[in-house]
Symmetry: C2
Subunit: 354 residues, 2 copies
């Protein structure tokens, strides 16, 4: 692909300050470029080890010849309840999914609660009931917990950390660095639903939408995929930072180029309308029940069929392929025939989306 | 023991409101009675399973004949830095210790950060350096992380969740329900240091103290104990709620009585002075580097010697024994010859101590 075909568009417009001296700003929690800079610049150097350095959704450990995937996520979504889900369902699904992305079968979760003084007990009950139902759907048990309470004004109602562990079957070797040129990229459905649903629940839109969050446990979908093909190379759920950021992570980790087709990417009309109105690019809006699969071309059609037969994969499509170049970059063939460089999210578009 | 010998003293004075309608209050985070009521009344019914119900410091799971202990803790200590430690050291040691209390060798930790917008990067760097050094001392790796940022005023600088996993060797079966009459209770050193050190750092005392927190990883001490005896029945670190609350938990879980000797319990003079001045009972003040061991009487002297030879066990003493009654209660023979019922902590004495 020659450079003169390319029209470079910088990351999406960022309404929040990028830097403020030597202080943490909202962009550090975006999941995009600033989060990556914080992690690689501040967290990794002192804590460095090969597992952490891999930079995948879950850390893979081996104990007595058993390989496990372990992942942790603190959930600070606001508001607590939104169309299609709540912080409880999100906390369970988010971690189940991150564990499963390494090809593991999620088994157990822990849950750590930070409660703000004055929180209604009834709210907490609803959240826990939702965690129970999500855990049942995913088939995982919550086996350890912790509750801390902080004074009024020192938290925003309720934060939940979940950490999960899953077992990786022998022969499975999935990771962000395993994409190879020629591989095909499948996306399991429409993008942007979660981010726009949460934004709508904040009442900031000034109009009503019926957009529902896609928050869901993807482990059964993943189990079906792994039964269909043993040539799955990468799986990732495009959460914070959206599809664009996840694809950029894979391109960097695998040192490959990724070329996607704009017209193959499903965006619900209502999501598209809100994004156009607010100047958001849906490629950067968070999802909580979607899956990117990078796999050998030979198995792509069969895996696509398997995915479409699963509830959470019914709208799966092939959106692109892995190329040898441009290394570490993502290109999109637009519907008008041009090629656009799709960068990582810079700054923060929608804070506290998960 | 006849009832007429007993002088019942209710739990310590509680300066914070116990209940406020149907809302969460600070006492729900105390680690004492209200925390237990919240857990058993609200969290356990929907999430119930045998592992969670055991109510131990770590949940014990078995995967392909390997037994693991998993524990989670969110750390909200204020201030972040205090004599003898900081939130980073606390976050690593707290979880290492909870994992190790089940007789496991801690292997890996995850770390989930909730950062408040405006936090100084330098502060975060110091905390991470401290986590690194505590992890090195404990011999564990941090293998997965997560960073969220919330708006100014929605957190208090920095909260850290750590979750840990450790491997339990075959033949080890330790848990809060395993104390049996005739067992001996060993305590690894002085009590109350952590709570009073943190309180002092708040500047609320109106005078200076040189009390240092005892925050430390206890896994090497525990490994030495397990090499000395295979008749260790219970281990617990008396953190939130202090020695009194941990002993009450053991008495309830094992359905035994525990009788301790007041004069055997080491309290540093400076800690004692502050407690007397503020009306605190040191039995209820948090520790972060102390260990209660309940074990067969035959091995008590040898384990005591082992513990005294370890850095974090140098001041170990036998403080009491397990009796068949009064079931579920803790009695203390006071230095003036009377017997006092030592109840769980009611309400909250020192909020955000860990």
């Amino acid at each position: 692909m020659s450079n003169d075909e390319q029209v470079t568009i910088e990351g999406p417009v960022c309404p929040l300050p990028l830097t403020h001296g030597n202080q943490i700003v909202m962009g550090h929690g975006s999941g995009g470029r600033m989060s990556h800079e914080l992690i690689t610049g501040l967290f990794l150097p002192p804590l460095d080890n090969p597992i952490l350095r891999a930079g995948d959704d879950g850390g893979v450990i081996e104990v007595n010849k058993n390989r496990f995937s372990i992942s942790t996520d603190s959930h600070v979504v606001w508001p607590l309840f939104f169309p299609g889900g709540d912080i409880g369902r999100l906390a369970v699904c988010g971690t189940v999914n991150d564990v499963a992305m390494m090809g593991a079968r999620p088994l157990y979760l822990t849950a750590g609660f930070i409660l703000e003084e004055g929180l209604d007990i009834e709210t907490l009950e609803k959240v826990i009931a939702s965690m129970r139902s999500a855990a049942e759907e995913a088939g995982v048990l919550i086996i350890a917990g912790d509750t801390k309470v902080v004074q009024k004004g020192k938290a925003d109602s309720l934060y939940i950390n979940t950490t999960g562990i899953g077992l990786i079957q022998n022969g499975i070797d999935i990771g962000g660095a395993r994409a190879i040129p020629g591989d095909v990229v499948i996306l399991s459905g429409s993008i942007g639903d979660h981010g726009i649903a949460v934004l709508g629940a904040r009442g900031d839109l000034g109009f009503e939408t019926d957009i529902q969050s896609d928050v869901a446990p993807l482990n059964h979908l993943i189990a079906a995929i792994l039964q269909t093909s043993n040539r799955i190379h990468v799986m990732r759920d495009p959460t914070r930072g959206g599809l664009a950021t996840s694809l950029n992570e894979i391109a960097r980790q695998s040192q490959v180029g990724i070329v996607i087709q704009e017209e193959s990417i499903l965006i619900k009309p209502a999501v598209n309308s809100v994004c156009e109105l607010l100047g958001f690019d849906p490629l950067y809006v968070a999802n909580e029940g979607k899956l990117i699969v990078v796999l050998a071309r030979e198995d792509a059609q069969q895996v696509l069929m398997t995915m479409r037969n699963q509830h959470y994969g019914a709208d799966s499509v092939i959106i692109g392929e892995i190329c040898s170049e441009p290394q570490g970059r993502v290109l999109m063939k637009t519907s008008i025939g041009s090629t656009r460089v799709v960068d990582m999210l810079t700054g923060e578009m929608l804070p506290r989306i998960c």
